[in-house]
Symmetry: D2
Subunit: 137 residues, 4 copies
C-alpha cells in the first residue's frame, strides 16, 4: 500500500442496502450483532470510493484488524427494510483509523456506532498508516 | 416475570465453548462481530444459572433488547479454539442491566466488552426490572 | 395474498451482489452455508420483481417455509467478489414452489442449487398457492 | 495426515447443543441455512471422536471442501431448544466422504441431510483419502 497521488481518503461515504431474512431474529428485528457487520460494509465501501482496494491490500500482506467497536441502538430494523448507513472517518493516528457510523431507515436514526481499526502486516506487527490515509488536520 | 423467592441473579457466570468453522473469516480468525454473539450466549447462560428461563419470559411477553454494546479486541481466536467467557452483572437500574464480559483462551485475554439491555413489553414499552433482578447495593 | 391481475410470477430473475468479509471463512472462501442464504435473497428478489411483497405477505399471515434445499459446489467465491445469481421457478404444485439457482462469478459457474418452499398460514397449515403463482403448463 | 494405527473413523457420532438467539429468524425458528452449519459441527466432532484433529490437518496443508449438501426440513427448531444431531459416514471413495445427518429435538425428527466433502491440498488438488478414513466394505 504505497503512497499514491491518485488516492485520497474520503471523509464520509453513504451506502444503502436491504435487510436480509437471515439477519432477523425471533424478535422479528435485525439481530444486534449484524449492525457490526453492516459497519464493516460501510467501511469497505468508503475505502473503495477512496480508491483503496482492500482485497488487493490483503493480497499484498497488509490487513486492517478491528481493535474496538461500539454500537448504540436507537431503534430497530426489520426484514426487507432499506437502510442507509453513513460512515465517517473521525480520527487517524499512527496505525489507527477511527470511524463513526449512523444507520437510518428514512430519516429515523436506528443506530450509531464507532470502530477503531489498526493496520498490521502478515506477522501481526502494527504498521504506520501511509500519508494519504491520514486526515488533514 | 413475577418476583420469586426462588430466583436470585448471580453476579458472575462462566461458560466455555468451541469456535465453529463458520465463525472464522478470511484472516483465519473469529470474525469480530461474532464476539457480540458470544456475549449474548454468556448473558443467556448467566440468566439460566440464576433461575431465569429467558425463552419462557419472551413467551410471557417480556423481552430484553440491547441498547448498547462495546467490544475491545486484545487478541484473536481461531477455529476450534476452546474459549472461556466470564459474564458479570455490573449495574442494574430501572429497566436496564449492564453486563461486562471477558473472553479468554487459556489465560490469554482475547476481548473485553460491555452491554446494556433494557426490559420491554410486547409493545416495546420499557418495564421496571423486578426486584430480584436488581443488584443489592 | 389474493389473486390479482397485476401480479405475474416471473420464471427467472437475476441479481448481482458483492461478497462481504463476514461471509468468508478460514479457507478465505465464502463459507458454504452462506450460499443457501444467497439463494433466499435470489428468491426474494424474484418475488419482488413479480410484484409480490413477501414482507407484507407475512404481515397478512402467510409464510413460505423451506422444505428442502440442495447446493452443489463447482468453484469457490472469495471476499469482495461480485457474484451473479440466476433464480428460476421450475415447478409449482399445490402449496409448493421449486426454484433452481445458478451462481456465477463472471462466466464461471460456482454453484448450482435447488430449493422447495411451501406456503403455510400462521398456524403452520399448508395453503394452496394462489393461481397467479402457478406456472402455466 | 499419515496413516496411523491409532486412528479409526467412527461410523456414527452424536452431539447435543442449544440453539442460540442469533440463529433464529423472524419466523421465530432457526433460520434454515444454519442447519448446514450444524451439520458441519457434527462432522467435525465425529472426526475429533475418531482421533482426527481437523485444525491440525489444515495447518499441515490438507483441507476438506464441501462439494454438495442437502437438507430436508421435517419440523422446526426454536430459540434455546436443545437439539441432538446424529452424524453418520455412509460412503467413502477416492477423495470423497459422504455423511448423513439426522437432527432431533427429543424424539422429533426436525431435519435430515447429506453432504459430500473432498480432500484437497493447499493448491486445491484432490487427494486420495488415507486408508484409515475409508469405510471397510
Amino acid at each position: 500500500m504505497s503512497d499514491s497521488p491518485s488516492l485520497h481518503m474520503l471523509r464520509e461515504h453513504e451506502i444503502t442496502f436491504r435487510v436480509r431474512y437471515s439477519e432477523t431474529d425471533a424478535q422479528a428485528r435485525v439481530y444486534h450483532a449484524h449492525y457490526i457487520t453492516y459497519f464493516e460494509v460501510g467501511r469497505t465501501e468508503l475505502c473503495r470510493a477512496s480508491g483503496l482496494d482492500y482485497k488487493r491490500m490483503e493480497q499484498e500482506g497488509l490487513f486492517f484488524v478491528v481493535t474496538e467497536v461500539t454500537c448504540r441502538y436507537r431503534g430497530s430494523a426489520g426484514y426487507d427494510d432499506v437502510l442507509r448507513l453513513v460512515t465517517r472517518v473521525v480520527k487517524t493516528k499512527g496505525a489507527r483509523i477511527t470511524h463513526e457510523y449512523a444507520l437510518f431507515r428514512g430519516d429515523d436514526l436506528l443506530a450509531e456506532g464507532q470502530s477503531t481499526i489498526a493496520l498490521v502486516n502478515r506477522a501481526g506487527t502494527v504498521q504506520r498508516l501511509p500519508d494519504w490515509l491520514l486526515l488533514d488536520e
